[in-house]
């Protein structure tokens, strides 16, 4: 997990977070505090709860117990779209029916940003990940590495408080 050095970056705090799926204990009473703008990696054998912890921070799972804070605000029960957190998925999860440009622009369009600003920011982000001028392609026409970079651009363009890499 990492937090991008950007002015928006916020502290992430987990307090005694627990997650149970039925009988299985996925995350058992984890507490940690991550400084704004720092880059932190969770290491461990498969099945130890890394992904679940990330998903709890993103809001894709709700903790069975404990509290989650982003900055000073408690977000334990907030839905994912009300947190300022983006996540890069193992499978990249590019929208297959949208072009590369529209994939990156998706979040900005949801926030109803003006068209000119959307264009400018998306172009900048594509430039940053080394894929200028490839906006009109379909995600299926890209190599695995290119797909990964598009997914990164799609997360970065939102300037999130926290950026998660699964």
């Amino acid at each position: 997990m990492m937090e991008q050095a950007n002015p928006q970056a916020a502290r992430v705090t987990l307090e005694g977070v627990t997650k149970r799926f039925g009988q299985t204990m996925a995350v058992d009473n984890i507490s940690l505090e991550i400084e704004p703008g720092s880059l932190v990696t969770l290491l461990g054998p498969s099945g130890c709860g890394k992904t679940t912890t990330l998903r709890i921070v993103a809001g894709l799972e709700t903790a069975t117990g404990g509290k989650v804070f982003i900055g000073d605000a408690e977000v334990t029960h907030l839905p994912p779209n009300a947190r300022d957190v983006t996540m890069m998925f193992q499978s990249y999860a590019l929208f297959p029916h949208l072009s590369v440009f529209e994939n990156v622009a998706y979040g900005l369009r949801v926030l109803k940003r003006p068209e000119a600003e959307v264009r400018k920011q998306v172009e900048e982000e594509l430039q940053l990940v080394g894929m200028p001028g490839m906006g009109e392609r379909s995600p299926s026409a890209l190599s695995g590495g290119q797909q990964q970079r598009v997914a990164l651009a799609r997360s970065l363009v939102m300037q999130p408080k926290v950026l998660l890499f699964d």
Partner: protein, 680 residues
């Protein structure tokens, strides 16, 4: 603006709308006239009714309290929404039940008030974290749950209730058994229904198995013909097969009467019904088994071949045993279909009586609600038992390996002799089926079948004169219900597959349940439940649309579930972490990706609405008459010319709809829809 400045916008907005509703909108209506029509209706607003029913003051009080709380600062804004919403829902239901007495029934106001309270409750639930998502998802769950309770569970409970309630409304637990004991032919009818169902189940499954093997494992080009055959029951109005059998084997039948010179009514009864049901349900068995044959991993057969087993031994020892769950599945499904079938026994049964037709005659002929309800319970128990067996016993026993990895290798061709035998049988069966359709079309152009075979357009002229009203009604109501069915079905599929919430299993189970409840049972359930205030719906168009929507809901659910299973959940998760709400995600990510499933759900719910008979036969009225009921009336009076002409028109419309869909989305969607549909 005021709303934006509010501390608790959901409560403020809900409170304001509720305040307007309670002062201006009539809460009740004159039996069934839901839309207010005149000044007199203003006497039915909650404010006006409060003098007589003080409970309405509570509702108005709730509206005022929400407005006030909406403007105040609160630590926990979810509380007034949650508890107020819950209280409001219960209040509206209670007030509708107490104040909705003859001649008044529920009205626009009660619908609006309930919707507002449900929405505010949904907001409270989602803010509190009880439903893991936003207000849109919570509201959809509450609304769907409410509809399922009202239009699937409640009518079934009404049937149960009437089987143990005497004419004065007193509860008599022994009445059910007493009614059945007093009904002399009960054991014969029950035995005949079950015997017919098992017979049709065995024969249809064998034919379906033959078709499935021939269509998926033969290298012949004829397989295209066999595949097309699978579509026939979808575009077939309920009486077509029955009418064709009468035209061929009836008193004036082409084969029995004209060719063999027999004057026999022998086809009416078990032989006719069994033949008609086998013709109708074998294609369903075919589809179920074919999907299993296609998913058998070729590596298993290849392994057998490399272990020195020949094609015949491999077929007997490996292929067939692997198909066992699919075959059992098809067998149980055709039993459920046969039990539920109404169209074939009603026109071919003669003296041969089954439960579904006896229920109809108990209501239509004897006006005996208790008998109809009691027989309904028996029929329901038989179908449900079979359905549950299929869901739970077989649901676990699939040998199909679902890995998402495309299977490697070619499926083994059938042994040569078997392939020729199966193909020969299937082609003969197809030719026979097609001949039936040809004779139905032909029958519409003949003066009086078997007596005066002169060509005529008389029936079509009569159709244009007398039948257009019912045809228009049918197409309009089916057209209105199709998008509603697709929305309800696909939304249910989305919620059940993608969200975790309390009661999810119950919602999934009950919505699929309506698939297994025989149409006649739902039909009497609707009559019994919606024939008096506060829920007065019979005699109108709304009850027909509602019955279409909730009978056909599983069609939408099945196409939706199948389509959603193909979509990586991470796409939606990516969308919500990019700040999109669940509603936006549904609209911009999910719906575009499952477009074929939506179109197939639309078309098949339209087709099923047009061909529905078993439930709607109880619900049609002089003003809202449906085509299938007209065909039934004509056929019962022996006017086969008009009945076949009418059926032909319906077949053409259905075929056009399916072809249109095929052009729009391709064949995968067509097959998914057929598997989701088909029940009478």
């Amino acid at each position: 603006m005021l709303v934006i400045a509010a501390r608790n916008p959901a409560c403020l907005l809900g409170g304001l709308i509720l305040l307007v509703t309670t002062t201006l909108v009539p809460f009740l209506s004159r039996q069934g006239q839901v839309l207010p029509i005149g000044r007199a209706d203003l006497a039915l607003t909650p404010l006006a009714l409060a003098g007589q029913y003080p409970g309405f003051y509570l509702l108005i009080g709730l509206a005022v309290a929400w407005v006030a709380l909406g403007l105040l600062r609160q630590d926990r804004p979810d509380r007034p929404a949650l508890w107020g919403g819950l209280l409001g829902c219960l209040l509206v239901i209670w007030l509708t039940v107490t104040a909705g007495v003859k001649p008044y029934a529920f009205g626009l106001g009660s619908i609006l008030a309930l919707t507002i309270c449900l929405l505010v409750l949904a907001y409270g639930l989602s803010q509190r974290g009880y439903i893991r998502a936003d207000t849109f998802v919570a509201a959809s769950i509450l609304l769907l749950g409410f509809f399922v309770l009202l239009f699937i569970i409640y009518p079934i409970l009404a049937v149960l209730q009437h089987s143990v309630m005497d004419s004065r409304g007193a509860l008599q637990p022994g009445l059910f058994l007493e009614t059945l004991r007093g009904y002399k032919s009960f054991w014969r009818v029950l035995g005949d229904s079950l015997g017919l169902a098992v017979f049709v189940g065995v024969v249809s499954t064998l034919i379906g198995l033959a078709f499935a093997l021939a269509a998926t494992r033969s290298r012949s080009r004829l397989t295209v013909l066999l595949r097309a055959f699978s579509l026939l029951p979808m575009i077939t109005p309920p009486f077509v097969v029955g009418l064709a059998i009468i035209l061929l084997f009836g008193l004036q039948g082409l084969i029995t009467g004209t060719l063999l010179g027999l004057k026999t009514r022998g086809v009416f009864g078990f032989p006719g019904v069994a033949l008609a049901q086998t013709l109708s349900f074998a294609p369903v068995a075919f589809l179920v088994i074919a999907s299993v044959v296609e998913s058998v991993n070729p590596a298993l057969e290849e392994a057998s071949l490399t272990l020195r087993a020949g094609p015949w031994v491999t077929f007997w020892k490996v292929t067939l045993p692997l198909l066992r769950p699919g075959v059992a599945n098809a067998f149980l499904l055709t039993i459920v279909e046969s039990l539920a079938d109404f169209g074939n026994p009603i026109i071919l049964g003669g003296e041969f009586e089954v439960l579904s037709t006896e229920i109809y005659f108990a209501i239509i002929g004897r006006f005996d609600k208790t008998l109809a309800a009691s027989l309904g319970i028996v029929l329901l128990a038989a179908s449900l038992a079979t359905f549950l067996l299929q869901q739970y016993w077989l649901g676990e026993r699939s040998y199909v390996t679902v890995t998402g990895k495309p299977p490697s290798g070619q499926p083994m061709p059938l042994p040569r002799g078997l392939e020729i035998g199966l193909l020969g049988f299937c082609v003969a069966w197809c030719v026979f089926t097609l001949a039936l359709y040809v004779f139905v079309v032909y029958g519409g152009f003949v003066e009086i079948w078997g007596i005066n075979n002169a060509f005529t357009l008389r029936h079509y002229r009569q159709l244009l004169r007398d039948g257009m009203d019912a045809l228009n009604t049918t197409l309009i109501l089916a057209g209105v219900s199709a998008p509603l069915t697709a929305v309800v079905g696909i939304l249910t599929a989305y919620l059940v597959v993608r969200h975790r919430f309390p009661g999810r299993g119950v919602l999934e189970f009950t919505s699929m349940l309506s698939f297994a409840v025989p149409g006649t049972v739902i039909g009497i359930g609707y009559i019994l439940a919606f024939n008096q205030p506060p829920l007065y719906l019979t005699g109108g168009a709304a009850i027909l649309v509602i019955s279409f929507v909730f009978r056909n809901m599983p069609v939408g659910i099945r196409s939706g579930v199948a389509a959603l299973a193909q979509i990586d959940k991470a796409l939606e998760e990516a969308s919500v972490t990019l700040r999109a709400s669940f509603a936006t995600t549904l609209r911009r990510i999910v719906l575009p990706l499952i477009r074929p499933a939506i179109i197939s759900a639309l078309v098949f719910s339209f087709v099923r609405a047009v061909t529905a008979i078993s439930a709607v036969v109880f619900l049609v009225s002089a003003k809202w008459q449906l085509s299938t009921k007209v065909i039934l009336d004509q056929a019962e009076n022996g006017r086969y010319g008009l009945a076949t002409a009418y059926s032909t028109v319906l077949i053409v419309i259905m075929a056009a709809a399916v072809v249109l869909m095929y052009l729009l989305v391709g064949k995968t969607a067509v097959r998914g829809g057929v598997e989701g549909g088909g029940l009478a």
